[in-house]
């Protein structure tokens, strides 16, 4: 597949069902995509910082009972709106791509067989 992914949209979607920390986001993306998306974990935190700057997510340090504190991210209202917008864009894009890739027949021999 040569279509570029939108890592920000994926992170927003990962946070849609509740707050998560960085490693939790990576795990959700990997599990949700059946292992197809393996985000470069080193690029995750710069992305999270940029998304915080944009106001889509908010990060807070939380203390845990089992170990040291960890930073958890939660979706903001503008983040939800942005996620919705990107979902619609993706639906439109994937529908358009599917309309071309899945229906156009490029093999003339197959067309003859179908007509025959």
């Amino acid at each position: 597949m040569r279509f570029k992914s939108d890592p920000e949209a994926l992170i927003l979607a990962a946070l849609a069902d509740g707050p998560k920390h960085g490693y939790g986001i990576v795990k959700q993306l990997k599990d949700g995509s059946s292992g197809l998306f393996k985000m470069n974990e080193g690029q995750l935190y710069p992305l999270l910082h940029r998304m915080q700057e944009s106001g889509w997510i908010k990060g807070e340090w939380e203390t845990t009972e089992t170990g040291p504190a960890r930073k958890t991210y939660v979706l903001t209202e503008s983040g939800r709106l942005e996620l919705e917008k990107r979902r619609q864009e993706w639906a439109k894009f994937s529908s358009a791509v599917s309309g071309v890739i899945l229906t156009v027949n490029t093999d003339p021999r197959l067309g003859e067989a179908q007509r025959g």
Partner: protein, 344 residues
């Protein structure tokens, strides 16, 4: 295997501390350390040996240098595109500095305020590029050299296409204009010499020796050998000479009196100026940029901009070195706390 994670986090912290404020670095490093700890713990729970879990977790997050660079870019907003965009501020300044003097050929008379106002352009160029380098935290040699090369090309193109020693019709016109100027000067000098050696004043005071309401005449002046140190004129007593110089007189009678007294001694000075003017006229009549002269122009232009570039690079090296030394000192003085992996 906590050592592997510790070492990684320590190196990451060191790289970040050299570029970012300490509070920001603490936040990032704590978060990434927690990420690594969870990643390792997850892998151990899935049955992986501890050493392999640590190695894989580190491989998964990536090299500490790349992670640090990404975080620095995210925090400072500087990447390769923005470094070039920062140079867009300094680029036009350097271009102006190189191009404005060229326009002096076509502006007559050249406004003095314009010539004075361009003196600050090189300083502004240095300051702007210094700021760009500091913002990007690296020497922008590529962009600076590209802009300097662009200005060199502009200067050389102007010299060849429009300059008086160039090869086009505009150059020939400029040359003719220069030669006409020398022709006028030669005519004036010859008139002055004739007036200086003449014993009769019946022809009237020459127009070339009039300056508005005043009459120019040779008056003896004490010439002090002036030297300049850092742009400040310092008068020295190493050589003093008294020689007549053309000075304004209020009345014609006063001027004629000075001419009678000093005309004979002043005439050789005018003759010397006449010889120089004739020599320059002969030069410009034959002027044509030979390959050797073209090479000299290229060398001189490149030297000037190379010098400016060198000064800018030197200043920026100093700025970045000072900042790197400061942050390295901060990084060395701060000791990271030891991380402990959860027991199985």
């Amino acid at each position: 295997m906590a050592d592997l994670i510790d070492a990684y986090v320590s190196r990451l912290r060191f790289r970040l501390l050299r570029r970012l404020p300490r509070a920001v670095v603490d936040d990032h490093v704590k978060e990434i350390a927690g990420h690594l700890r969870e990643s390792v713990a997850d892998r151990i729970r899935s049955g992986m040996p501890e050493h392999q879990a640590s190695t894989e977790a580190l491989r998964s997050i990536g090299c500490d240098r790349l992670v640090a660079d990404s975080l620095i870019r995210a925090r400072t907003g500087i990447d390769r595109r923005t470094t070039w965009s920062l140079c867009r501020i300094a680029g036009p300044i350097l271009l102006l500095y190189g191009v404005i003097p060229l326009s002096f050929f076509y502006l007559e008379p050249v406004p003095e305020w314009l010539m004075n106002e361009t003196n600050w352009l090189p300083s502004l160029f240095v300051i702007t590029f210094g700021y760009s380098c500091w913002r990007s935290r690296k020497l922008l040699i590529g962009p600076m050299a590209a802009i300097a090369a662009l200005v060199c090309v502009a200067v050389l193109t102007e010299a060849l296409a429009f300059g008086p020693m160039g090869y086009t019709s505009m150059s020939r016109q400029a040359r003719a204009h220069t030669i006409a100027g020398f022709d006028r000067n030669i005519g004036q000098f010859e008139e002055e010499i004739e007036f200086a050696r003449s014993r009769s004043w019946t022809k009237g005071f020459p127009s070339c020796l009039r300056s508005g309401e005043y009459f120019l005449a040779p008056k003896p002046q004490t010439v002090v050998d002036e030297r300049y140190i850092s742009g400040v004129p310092i008068a020295t007593s190493s050589s003093r000479s008294t020689q007549p110089m053309l000075m304004p007189c209020a009345t014609r009678q006063e001027a004629e009196g000075f001419w009678k007294r000093y005309g004979a001694t002043f005439a050789p000075i005018i003759e010397q100026s006449l010889r120089e003017a004739k020599s320059n006229q002969a030069f410009w009549r034959a002027a044509w940029m030979t390959p050797h002269e073209l090479g000299l122009v290229v060398w001189r232009t490149a030297s000037i901009y190379g010098l400016i570039l060198g000064v800018v690079v030197a200043i920026n090296i100093w700025i970045l070195a000072m900042e790197a030394a400061y942050r390295t000192l901060v990084a060395r003085l701060w000791r990271p706390s030891r991380l402990v992996l959860p027991r199985r």
